[in-house]
Point group: C2
Chain length 321, copies 2
């Protein structure tokens, strides 16, 4: 049942995972990647696989999300990465070598681990949401706000925290109007943030209101809202809907063995990918709730591979490789 | 003489500068970039412009360095970046707005600055060096060590510090033999590092020796060495020469106004691109002496743009944009 001792096992297959794989493979570490099988509700390749158009990954004026991830996967394989299309059920990092348990029941032994399982944007999952996902519905204002689809159009943002106000404010640069829809009658955001929101003429707060559904033909044309206090339901015509209700980092499978913050994001030593367990490294959105871009994820993936290589060459010197 | 007040001025045009430009432009900040004119002895586009083949930038199985930088530049322009092919002579960040002085005598006023001027690898500049640069001569083992050119071949590394030993050790994964040539009779590296070096059968130390010249036909075929103590000169046949004698971060033009470490690297708040001066951000190799990869630079370029955007939206709220 046991497989040979691996130098590096990479869990996750977004930009962080594949960049880690490319660097680890080129460092002759013969990495093994678990790309997952709908892990965290997301296909192998990560969140970009649900993005139609990317204009901010350096090197590509415009490329489809699935296409970019296809390129990265090809490159990782070309460099010598072995990929298993399985989800990791759990890991045991209480002693070295670490144990990785696949959902199919295999146990893999590993000298180092790179955790790159990402984070999944929270959504409301209203009835027709899937139909308009990336056709007017997004969970990333920075990624998608500048798209022509949204220029000089009314947009709606769902949320009430600091991030929601930041994203709504950001979108006022492009939109004709941004409605911030919040289910309560006050914001969770900081006072300073609130003040900025209230003083922005393009931003309008919609209180006590929740999203009920979305509608449109090919692209999103509007949202159905419900004011709980007034028990009123109405349609609002908007060309874009942005969720800003947070993300869920995909760390449940770690069962608390790696130090995280209160939201479940893995804590790394700043400026590196070192986690609370020596030999375990974290890259990408699973450890980043601030920037969350494909290229920042890729950057930390590279760092994780170099950190793992350094660990193997120093801490574990004398071992094979 | 003065130009209008800029939101963001980006100094430098490697992967960090262009990724910052792409993100800043997409955030409607209308960035202005100084790409430099042979600044730091390097062409616009940065160090990659002297690299023939890149196999570790995610998204491209293989691409030429100049070609990748051409793509990034096109993309930055496509997003709306204005580029000036001039070198910045100096800056004044003692008060806001900051002043940027071009070598042609212009003064540009800016609300925020992104410093992405990179670092230049030190070289010996032996007579025939330019002829074989990137044809057997490199300054980055991690970038180039895995190239077929160097597989199972004898290589030489010049240097004596921790980085030199790390790079020499790294190269033993690919090479038939690695000679570490050091001008003194002892290493500056830490004891632990030295021990690893001495116990590696593929690594041989060559003491009291300096590089005199290189030779070959189309590609590097050997190096001419001189032992100063014995006053002996001889040829050594190697297929690769790696400089590991450090880098010079391109920060002289800052004239000490931004906090740096003792080697001149800009200090940033870990996990961000914030420098000692609020509103001035640093990205890429000018603030990274550890990872120094194109993709890590690009990642921090993105971070710098998002940090600048956040700064403009919060600290300078009320101003135009």
């Amino acid at each position: 049942m046991n497989s040979p001792l691996e130098n590096v096992v990479i869990i996750g297959s977004g930009p962080a995972g594949h960049t880690a794989a490319i660097y680890a493979a080129r460092a002759n570490l013969n990495p093994l990647m678990f790309e997952g099988f709908m892990a965290g509700g997301v296909a192998a390749g990560g969140q970009l696989t649900t993005t139609t158009e990317i204009e901010n990954f350096p090197g590509f004026v415009s490329i489809g999300g699935p296409e970019l991830m296809h390129h990265m996967r090809q490159q990782a394989v070309h460099c010598g990465t072995r990929i298993r299309t399985e989800t990791v059920a759990k890991v045991d990092v209480s002693e070295r070598p670490f144990k990785v348990y696949s959902e199919e029941g295999d146990v893999i032994l590993a000298k180092t681990l790179i955790l790159a399982t990402g984070a999944t944007a929270k959504r409301m999952r209203v009835p027709r949401e899937e139909e308009f996902w990336q056709k007017g519905i997004s969970a990333c204002a920075v990624c998608d706000g500048a798209l022509p689809l949204f220029r000089n159009q009314p947009l709606v943002v769902i949320g009430g925290g600091d991030t929601a106000i930041e994203e709504a404010t950001y979108l006022t640069k492009f939109a004709s109007k941004v409605y911030l829809v919040h289910r309560r009658d006050e914001l969770r955001a900081s006072k300073a943030m609130q003040q900025r929101a209230f003083s922005n003429p393009k931003l309008e707060l919609v209180w006590d209101t929740v999203l009920e559904d979305v509608f449109g033909e090919r692209y999103l044309e509007g949202v159905k809202l419900r004011n709980g206090k007034l028990d009123r339901v109405w349609d609002m015509e908007v060309k874009g809907l942005f969720y800003a209700i947070g993300h869920t980092p995909n760390t449940a499978f770690l069962e608390g063995q790696i130090r995280t913050d209160e939201s479940g994001y893995i804590l790394t030593e700043p400026g590196s990918t070192l986690t609370s367990v020596p030999g375990v490294f974290a890259a990408g959105d699973v450890q980043d709730k601030r920037y969350r871009q494909a290229v920042t994820s890729a950057g930390t993936g590279c760092m994780a591979a170099l950190d793992a290589e350094h660990f193997l060459a120093t801490e574990l010197a004398g071992g094979q490789h």
